[in-house]
Symmetry: C2
Subunit: 252 residues, 2 copies
């Protein structure tokens, strides 16, 4: 049995907060400890907030390229400027849509830059960018929490992304540590001794999607989910495994 | 808490088998009954096998288009022919890769036609096509199992699909009944009373991905997963909600 438990009672996260400490307190409230093989999925927003990845819109000056893209996308040019600073390449720009390759290597809308769930003084707009190094943030939390409980655990940071051909967003992994992010089933025979046609499973994305079901979207109340019962052995692994190299991309 | 329980001891499914009966027996073995709000996720393969969606490769004659695509993709021309019969449109053909729009409306590789985990006499090759009408199959199972337990449940059929920009396959919904497949969060305010930027969540796909974690890939031993604790109210809904209309597709 696989169980997913959202940690109760986490406070709103502020710049500089100790996430490992907040998660330990949340585990205590849930009556949980960490055991070998457990995985924590953490919403991107609280990692970004703890890192202070905030940008005041009033402090941003739009570049020429941002002004042009803002006209096409009908978005605020300063918002577009922040998106461009977080991106390597623009894939599509249409009214209300701006799809980019994020500087970390994955494709998503608006480079994950968000203005919802960001507290700001009246009359001010504050944007939230994705964590600076999500794989590194996962590794640090894995190390701190693993040591605290004496357990070999995995950590994933998830975000909600749209898809090329399907409606609706899906929780996906933008950072991981200690998880077989891309699970290799190559050569494992099926029941009738054929070679399996499906070779690799995006396990960290499946875990990120599963956690998203119980996280909700509209608040920060359940941004950490504890998962127990994953039927695979943990190993070293990062979310980089999940990003399709440009050379293998047929749909850019 | 969300719990996912793979049903133990399901036999290999044959054409004409009564899936609702097999699932009831599996629930019994797991010590589970169905309650309001429970969701069953069923692997495409056992639905297809129960429907007898099998094609003997030796019975297939390749068309001109199949022969051409076989040369490009390095696939068996008769296999390609079966893929084309299940497809509306070819999106990409490359060595070892054939991406199509399936006749049901979603984009996937090989139209979901599979040769792994299909039992065949020695020297014969048998292909397995996706269920004829996955939404309809879900509705029938929802009705039969809901009546048997006196419960309002949801049913999803999942399959493993690749993604445009990410490595590895992911469990996705190719059929659904009684599930808010596309969960509408439009207008639900966030904690700070902004309108949410993210409007719609692919909930049935998140459930399909979550179930995939415990189903495994290489056998049929765990093709049905029981999910309890989904924090949303069930409603009428089919997997059609999840398929992006061609008019909204920026990456074809």
């Amino acid at each position: 049995m696989l169980t997913l438990t959202p940690l109760p009672g986490l406070p709103l996260v502020q710049t500089g907060d100790d996430l490992a400490g907040l998660i330990r307190a949340g585990l205590d409230r849930a009556g949980l400890t960490l055991q070998d093989g457990d995985i924590l999925v953490i919403a991107q927003k609280i990692v970004s907030k703890a890192e202070g990845r905030l940008v005041r819109l009033a402090d941003v000056t739009a570049s020429e390229q941002a002004l042009e893209l803002a006209e096409i996308t009908l978005k605020d040019a300063r918002f577009v400027e922040v998106v461009l600073r977080e991106s390597r390449e623009v894939l599509r720009a249409r009214p209300n849509t701006l799809i980019v390759e994020h500087r970390l290597g994955f494709v998503c809308a608006n480079a994950g830059v968000d203005r919802s769930n960001v507290e700001a003084p009246p009359g001010e707009e504050v944007l939230l960018c994705l964590p600076a190094d999500p794989d590194g943030a996962c590794a640090a939390l894995r190390s701190a929490l693993g040591a605290a409980y004496g357990a070999a655990i995995g950590v994933i940071i998830n975000d909600s992304h749209g898809r090329a051909w399907r409606m609706g967003t899906l929780g996906v992994a933008i950072g991981a540590a200690g998880v077989p992010a891309l699970l290799d089933l190559r050569g494992k025979p099926d029941l009738f001794d054929h070679a399996l046609q499906i070779t690799q499973v995006g396990l960290a994305d499946e875990l990120a999607a599963a956690a998203s079901i119980v996280m909700g979207q509209a608040d920060e109340g359940r941004p950490v989910v504890h998962i127990r019962g994953v039927p695979y052995t943990l190993r070293e692994g990062t979310a980089q495994e999940l990003y399709r190299p440009k050379s293998l991309d047929l749909f850019r």
